[in-house]
Symmetry: C2
Subunit: 236 residues, 2 copies
């Protein structure tokens, strides 16, 4: 059995997963290419697979024509496989947390997620940030998503509910990174590309630090967050 029509009802249904509301409704999301297929498989998160590649086999595999695969994918070259994945459930908080306040650019969130995982920040709290299951975020995370604990919550509520964490914000201040007290439980907060972290959140942080720079107003948020996470990672 091979689906060759883009009007097939299953294909039409799956294509809707490019939209956030359908992802939220179904608890499913869609990734493209072999690398993300392998990662999803490794973490037991595959719901079903659409592919043009007969070397991929299994109960949940559906073969499709090039044309249909193209329709399912968001990129021009979906590399032979589109995987429908189950969203991860929330897990207990890890000792290192990254908090994103209104981070809007998918590439920036993807970079932050990849760095977070690399530096042992295995929980990410998102507040009004771009959706982690957005195609562009998924492409730039390179599979890091499957190993992260993602929580969507209001930051101030999160901070009140989790007072045992030492919260490090990034803002123009008199504090340098070396003023950060490295503790067992730490959360690094990054903010919006244009306006930074909201004032009400900065006020609740234990410390707000500045990375000294010259010539320009600000670093890219992915870079700034990564530098701070690297600094407070407990194994580096």
């Amino acid at each position: 059995m091979k689906i060759t029509s883009v009007n097939n009802s299953l294909i039409k249904e799956m294509t809707k997963l490019h939209q956030k509301k359908y992802r939220d409704r179904t608890g499913l999301f869609l990734v493209e290419g072999y690398h993300l297929y392998e990662e999803a498989k490794k973490h037991g998160l595959i719901d079903r697979v659409f592919t043009t590649d007969t070397s991929i086999a299994g109960d949940n595999v559906t073969y499709v024509s090039d044309h249909v695969l193209q329709k399912l994918a968001n990129t021009k070259s979906p590399q032979g496989v589109v995987t429908i994945c189950k969203m991860m459930t929330e897990n207990p908080l890890t000792n290192r947390i990254l908090i994103c306040d209104h981070v809007q650019d998918p590439g920036n969130l993807g970079t932050l997620m990849r760095s977070a995982l690399a530096f042992g920040f295995e929980t990410i709290v998102l507040d009004h940030s771009v959706d982690t299951y957005n195609d562009k975020v998924l492409r730039s995370t390179q599979g890091a998503l499957f190993q992260l604990n993602i929580i969507n919550q209001d930051i101030e509520t999160f901070m009140i509910e989790n007072p045992s964490y030492y919260y490090v914000g990034t803002a123009l201040s008199n504090h340098k990174m070396t003023d950060i007290e490295v503790k067992e439980k730490m959360a690094v907060i990054v903010g919006n590309e244009g306006s930074g972290i909201r004032e009400s959140v900065l006020e609740k942080a234990d410390i707000n630090v500045t990375i000294p720079i010259q010539h320009i107003d600000s670093l890219n948020v992915g870079v700034a967050g990564s530098i701070i996470m690297h600094f407070v990672s407990d194994f580096a």
Copy 2:
């Protein structure tokens, strides 16, 4: 005088600047939006301006229709102004240099350029990397380009001709960043997104360092380069 036809010969000529070969031939490049217009103006690099905005005035300003501006621009919303800029000439080497070996992604190069400027690496040497005047690079540098000294040269030749620099490569090695000797003249080398720095370049470096990470194979090159540049910046 207002140009309203996309078939106008000047518009057709300027549109070609989206291609590298025309940029190289003419020594001109094109930027979109008010922020980059202001930056180009500040650094005296404006050749001419195309705009729909009559509040912008001057000898080198040409008014165009929305449709023509759209044609000149690469983005859907060019924000009212497209500026034709003169390429910068090469300047003497600064004490901090960033070297890019086959960096291919425009977003990564843009991030690296922005961080380089922020951390005082005012000279960038590019070898087989994406063109600095590429639209996507320009958008992600946020104007950093106008303040950087850009040199296109073979890296190994550059290293031989400039032996007074201490070259720091990034590679899997036993060296950590704290092993780096911070000297007056330093060059940080970053490599290709997939394959890293070429072996022949690594061999010529004074030290090759690893940033300790877990869970994943590598950091984003923009992040890794920024972390090392931050570490060796002479004012942080």
